[in-house]
């Protein structure tokens, strides 16, 4: 099969799977596009994000840890990378080390029986 045909097959399978997922999620009713109730009734904050003097709730203190605070933070990026690599490394270790041990044991028993 030519490469273009293979790409087409992959894309068609992707599209079909995406379509099924989309309709399944929508049919389950969990993907309501309605905004939360306070958006339609009483907004706890002005629509334009601007507050009148004295209207804005006081910031109680502490450090803000939202996206704006963390974006471009080199230490954070390193932490995220290390965390994800760590998870993968743990999984690899859990699966590969026992497998290799079993393999070695089998090899040892087979050589001892043959001797």
């Amino acid at each position: 099969m030519k490469t273009l045909g293979k790409i087409l097959v992959i894309l068609v399978v992707f599209a079909v799977a995406m379509g099924i997922t989309y309709f399944a999620v929508n049919a389950s009713g969990s993907s309501s596009t309605d905004l939360p109730q306070f958006e339609n009734r009483e907004r706890p904050f002005p629509a334009n994000g601007q507050f009148e003097p004295g209207e804005r709730p006081e910031f109680s203190g502490g450090e803000f840890e939202g996206r704006e605070r963390r974006e471009g933070d080199g230490g954070g990026l390193m932490f995220g990378l290390i965390k994800n690599v760590g998870i993968i490394a743990i999984l690899v270790t859990i699966l590969v080390v026992p497998k290799n041990l079993i393999k070695r044991k089998r090899l040892q028993t087979s050589t001892s029986t043959s001797v």
Partner: protein, 171 residues
């Protein structure tokens, strides 16, 4: 015969480069809070193309295993096959939910989609599941990874250093 071996070697090298690229892209894209939402979205969209190349390079294995899956088969290959399909569907959910909550890629195409909270949580869930599946996928292919790294990265580097040492000695 020699041509086939060279072709396989080249394919393995390409696969190695593509896999390393996907792995690094995934690690960067996995943390949108720090890399930024634009990098997260554009890198993930590019990774989609890399995944298609990865599938193309594994095409023969996919076809052969799909034919053999009903009959007799090595249990590891069977697990690998099922895991790969799980990964494929997870990527489908990850990409779809990502496009539906996109803040950069889809708006840049002039399309505006309604905000949807379910897709956001589905995106987070599928991303975490993908990390888990990627770990399992890496573990199942660990032998291949070690072998290919030895053959195409460590051995050529070792040869390079040893030839340099020899040159220094002769000089």
């Amino acid at each position: 015969m020699t041509e086939t071996i060279t072709k396989t070697k080249n394919q393995t090298k390409t696969k190695l480069v593509i896999d390393i690229a996907i792995f690094i892209a995934f690690l960067i894209a996995m943390d949108p809070h720090t890399s930024g939402i634009a990098i997260h979205e554009w890198l993930s969209t590019a990774a989609f193309a890399a995944i298609i190349v990865h599938l193309l390079l594994s095409w023969d294995w996919i076809v052969q295993t799909s034919r053999r899956i009903v009959g007799k088969m090595n249990s590891q290959s069977r697990i690998n096959y099922i895991l790969n399909w799980a990964m494929f569907f997870d990527v489908v959910v990850l990409m779809l939910s990502g496009f539906l909550i996109s803040e950069q890629v889809i708006p840049s195409l002039g399309i505006s989609l309604p905000q949807n909270f379910a897709w956001r949580s589905l995106h987070d869930l599928s991303a975490n599941l993908f990390l888990l599946l990627l770990g399992l996928h890496t573990a199942l292919h660990w032998g291949w990874i070690v072998d290919v790294f030895k053959r195409y990265i460590f051995q050529p580097l070792g040869r390079l250093f040893s030839s340099r040492k020899r040159k220094d000695v002769t000089a």
